[in-house]
């Protein structure tokens, strides 16, 4: 089950009511949870080391989103958490590509060293 379907349903549920005033947007709890999870996932992928700027950006936005939720500013919370989710995804993607890049370099280096070693060996 994808989280956004649930958000859609709940959003649609309060759609007509929300159209009346900006403060009556339903609390984007689903989106908040998804965004928090995305940040955690990015940390787990090593973003602290490989994509610190992106990660900090995502975390900062989530902090602000949490505050917005607390003060019932659901529009802000929604906006920020959407942004934070993608920021976290980018952080994770950067970490993965950085790690793959390091592996490639290390392996290429190992191959080169091994070839050099072999060239030195007497036949």
């Amino acid at each position: 089950m994808t989280p956004h379907r649930f958000a859609f349903a709940s959003a649609l549920g309060g759609a007509l009511v929300a159209l009346a005033a900006c403060a009556s947007l339903p609390p984007p709890t689903e989106q908040m949870a998804v965004a928090h999870a995305a940040v955690a996932h990015a940390v787990g992928a090593g973003s602290t080391e490989f994509a610190p700027a992106e990660l900090a950006l995502a975390r900062d936005k989530m902090t602000r989103a949490d505050r917005a939720m607390a003060s019932k500013d659901y529009a802000t919370a929604l906006t920020l958490s959407q942004q934070a989710q993608l920021d976290a995804q980018v952080a994770e993607a950067k970490s993965e590509s950085a790690k793959a890049g390091k592996s490639a370099v290390a392996l290429q280096e190992a191959s080169r060293a091994l070839r050099e070693e072999m060239a030195r060996q007497p036949r």
Binding site: L25, A38, T79, Q83, L86, A100, G101
Partner: protein, 310 residues
Amino acid sequence: MKTPIRFTTLALLAATMAACSTLPPGNAMLDQARSDYRAAQANTQTEALAPVEMKQAGEALALANAAQARKDEPAMIDQLAYLSRRRTALAQETAARKQSEAAVATATADRDKVRLEARTLEADRATRNAAVATADAAQSKRQSESAMRDAAASQRAAASSQMRAGEAERRNQALMARMQEMKAEKTDRGMVVTLGDLLFDTGRAELKAGAVRDMQRLGEFLREYPQRRALIEGYTDSVGPDAANQVLSERRAGAVMTALLGMGVGRDQLTSQGYGETHPVAGNDDAGGRQMNRRVEIVLSDENGALTAR
């Protein structure tokens, strides 16, 4: 974990934002989003390696463009544009990751290939070394076997020499015993058997009965060693004329020779000679001395038959 943002939710947000915000219009973010997307498209690798992510980025940009076309709130357009830019960045990072993963696969295959080459070389080298070692070992074995054979041969030669030496020693001792039995004495001319005066009657040349017995051993010796020769020499004391003594000494030597021939000693082994009163061994002044001079000497040759003539 990708969550496409539903148009309905965004529309809801747009409506909400329109209801409670008065931000001035601006599409700098959208320009940036378009520019980012074009740049990603320009890199053919991005499309090839991250097609799904590029499609999502394109859809996000379309949403933003549509919002602008509808003249939605700038905040809405900004949000959509920002999300679009993030989607584009995601596509680019995904492509970069896949490129690195491909490089890892290539490098791994390459490293494995190099390792295999190295191991093959090592194995070849080890095989050659083993072959050399085996050859060395075989050669060492042959050398040591050869040395052992030499040692065994030397041992056998030594044992053989020892045996011969032992045999020679025994023969020598046997010979010495025989000489002792014959009462032969060593002189500068060789072994000499002296037959005394008592073998003959005074002035006569016939051997007395007991004399033949005394000569028994000598005869056996000469018969047993046909290559041995004997010089039979007769001597007298100085009593009486020289000529008579000469004849007597010759006849006595001859008698001894005849006796030895009678025992079966070979003719070519014997020579007889008379020396008369010459070469006395003792003084002729007293009876004892004269008796000693009356003798027959039998000089024995060496084992090859060589004699030293007087």
